[in-house]
Symmetry: C2
Subunit: 407 residues, 2 copies
């Protein structure tokens, strides 16, 4: 199993495109299409927000309709959330127009939108965009890159990854793309992500692998604690790898699940690192917790704390804020047993032992914290469970981006 | 009943002082003392953080010791949190030195600290500070002002208020002070607050009034969702108003509880308005919720959202973020019945009806949102309960203050 540079067109039989429809901005790709001529099974997870955008409700219904799936059509610029009947109608058109041009049914096309809430989809531009996207469909690596670019909003880089695994002698491929980067918070985020794979797998098992993968990846990142109305993660599997179909939780399933986890983790970390205004990736690993869920909650609490994030921006080893964020997470632990270290690559620096500062060098700490990627290692000495969460620093640019997002 | 300008020395028999001990900064008052020669009953609430500072643990024990209370000694600069045995010992000295000079027992003196976590109390400076503070004790309004100034950290203004009520013909007074202003989040905050009153009341009833008052005041504000290790709210009642002692929940109790609520609400709003880096006070009122607690959670979710706060900083009527913050609060409601309005003083502007934007003037909305105090009014059309929460905008200065707090 290995990760490598690639995207949604890496697995066999998948095509993609990304085009400029001028939805909100000029010179920005904003319609993205992923397509497999071969029928796919699908797994997906969505936002837990009570307020769900029209495409999210559409996709949830699609998952249960028993039809083979063929495509995901996505747009950036307009979220199509809080638009009532109009939103439902526009979203149907979004799927139906795509389906018409691909000679499939609307109910075989997932939709996803991201952008401003409460404004209508400019359907004329979108229709033209879909026409162009379908005409541009192809299986090249560039086409996958275009698709990944077309879902970006405040992202500064596009996010893609591929992974290969072997089931027996058979090579299976996965390719993924995602976008952040504000409103990123467990569970899910204003993230859109599509992963394609040529694995041959039973649909119920694919869904299980998807749900499992999300728990410790996409659901463990936070940019700003805000959970969006549009979060969508869809996996399409077209079976073209021709491995013996995975129908139970055997070694082949475990291998595929592991690869899917790797892809999700890679995309999740890229989203955290590219959080709005972020300059650094903050990782918190919690060890020796009583329960797995407790470890997750504590790790997320640290990387979600505005005070920790602002201190991290200032490269200030303000470990008191880390301990404080653990303390208010609502998880039972003994503060007087907690150890905290900072890690950057192979360098470790112990800063807290038994809940108290030890005599460490502020200079070294500041130097480590000024790096691009830093880990806080928290040892609770309280059990056998662990978890990891990813976040970013809180910066002037976050405020700037979000103080004036709509203009 | 009326609020008026005043502070902890306003009620009969209370003295105060605030002096410069040079704990962390020069030319900043940092030791604060509140004292009543007449014995007091006390009520208090504290942080819910698992990590509690030494003074918090001391005060919790004091509440149960059955002794009359006489004083609260406070310092700003050093939180005395995460200091292990040393912290416990230093805190005892903090109380004991004060008690010695006031000819009382250490167990009659509450302590409170705020500031940097994990650094030791400079006991020589603090001892000198206590000596000066005791020598300066007096009942003037200026002394109360000094005491309020001496607990400020990143606060930009000191926060005080007084209130009078009548129980029969008897005038009863309350006076309060508090400090914010980062790490302000339900429940409690890096807030310290002391309220004095000359009411004559049973101690258990005082505690009940305190707990009740906190729920819809201090616990409904948020600056940054971080709950500190040091949050402390103490009420001392010396009985000198000589009202007939309040021993049950009669009309006199209700009147006193209402006055206490007014004092707490005033101080809470001042803390939110003076949140770190804040330029504006953001109020969210949720009406017609199914349950009171649901209304509280929803109101807090709106004023706690980084995205709402950043949009508010930019005077951007990004109501989608308000609806989104309601949606992820974990409370059941129907998004398609929600109305949202903006209110500034007597001006109302409806912006959302039945979960969708209505045709409002962005210019008027932006103009209202650029004011110093703005309310978001949320109507759920779902029941009979309501709640109010107070917060502030998220600004460049918040990041600046917290990126480099310790230096």
């Amino acid at each position: 199993m290995r990760k490598f540079s690639g995207n949604v067109t890496t697995p066999q039989g998948f095509q993609a495109s990304g085009v400029m429809a001028g939805i909100r901005k000029k010179n920005k790709k904003d319609i993205s299409l992923v397509y497999s001529e071969s029928p796919c099974v699908a797994g997906a997870t969505f936002t837990t927000n009570r307020v769900k955008a029209a495409p999210v409700n559409w996709d949830i219904a699609l998952l249960k309709n028993g039809l083979a799936k063929h495509a995901v059509i996505l747009n950036s610029g307009i979220a199509n959330a809080c638009m009532g009947e109009q939103g439902v109608k526009d979203n149907y058109e979004f799927a139906a127009k795509t389906a018409e041009l691909l000679y499939i049914k609307p109910e075989q096309v997932f939709t996803a939108s991201t952008g401003v809430i409460g404004q209508p989809m400019p359907m004329d531009k979108i229709t033209t965009g879909i026409e162009e996207a379908v005409s541009m469909l192809n299986g090249s690596e560039q086409a996958g890159k275009d698709a990944a670019e077309a879902i970006m909003t405040t992202d500064t880089v596009s996010k893609t990854i591929a992974c290969e695994l072997f089931i027996g002698e058979t090579r299976v491929l996965l390719g993924g793309m995602s976008k952040g980067s504000g409103m990123i918070h467990p569970n899910m985020a204003t993230m859109l992500s599509v992963v394609t794979t040529d694995v041959n797998i039973d649909e119920a098992l694919l869904q299980e692998a998807v749900s499992d993968a999300v728990t410790d990846t996409f659901n463990m990142i936070s940019v700003d604690r805000d959970t969006s109305t549009n979060d969508t993660f869809i996996v399409l599997a077209n079976g073209l790898a021709c491995n013996k179909k995975i129908t139970k939780k055997d070694a082949a399933y475990e291998e595929f699940a592991k690869a899917l986890f790797l892809v999700c983790k890679d995309l999740a970390k890229k989203m955290a690192h590219d959080g709005e205004g972020a300059t650094k990736l903050l990782t918190c690993k919690v060890f020796h917790a009583k329960t797995r869920e407790g470890a997750r909650v504590l790790a997320r609490s640290v990387i979600s704390s505005n005070l920790v994030k602002a201190a991290f921006f200032g490269s200030d080893a303000n470990w008191g804020r880390v301990l404080c964020a653990l303390g208010y997470a609502g998880v039972d632990f003994d503060p007087e047993k907690v150890d905290i270290s900072i890690q950057h690559e192979d360098d470790f620096l112990d800063i807290v032992k038994n809940g108290m500062a030890i005599d460490y060098s502020e200079e070294i700490a500041t130097n480590m914290l000024s790096q691009d990627r830093v880990k806080f290692i928290v040892d609770l000495h309280d059990g056998y469970e662990r978890a990891t969460a990813w976040g970013c620093d809180l910066t002037y640019d976050y405020v700037k981006i979000n103080g004036d997002y709509r203009s």
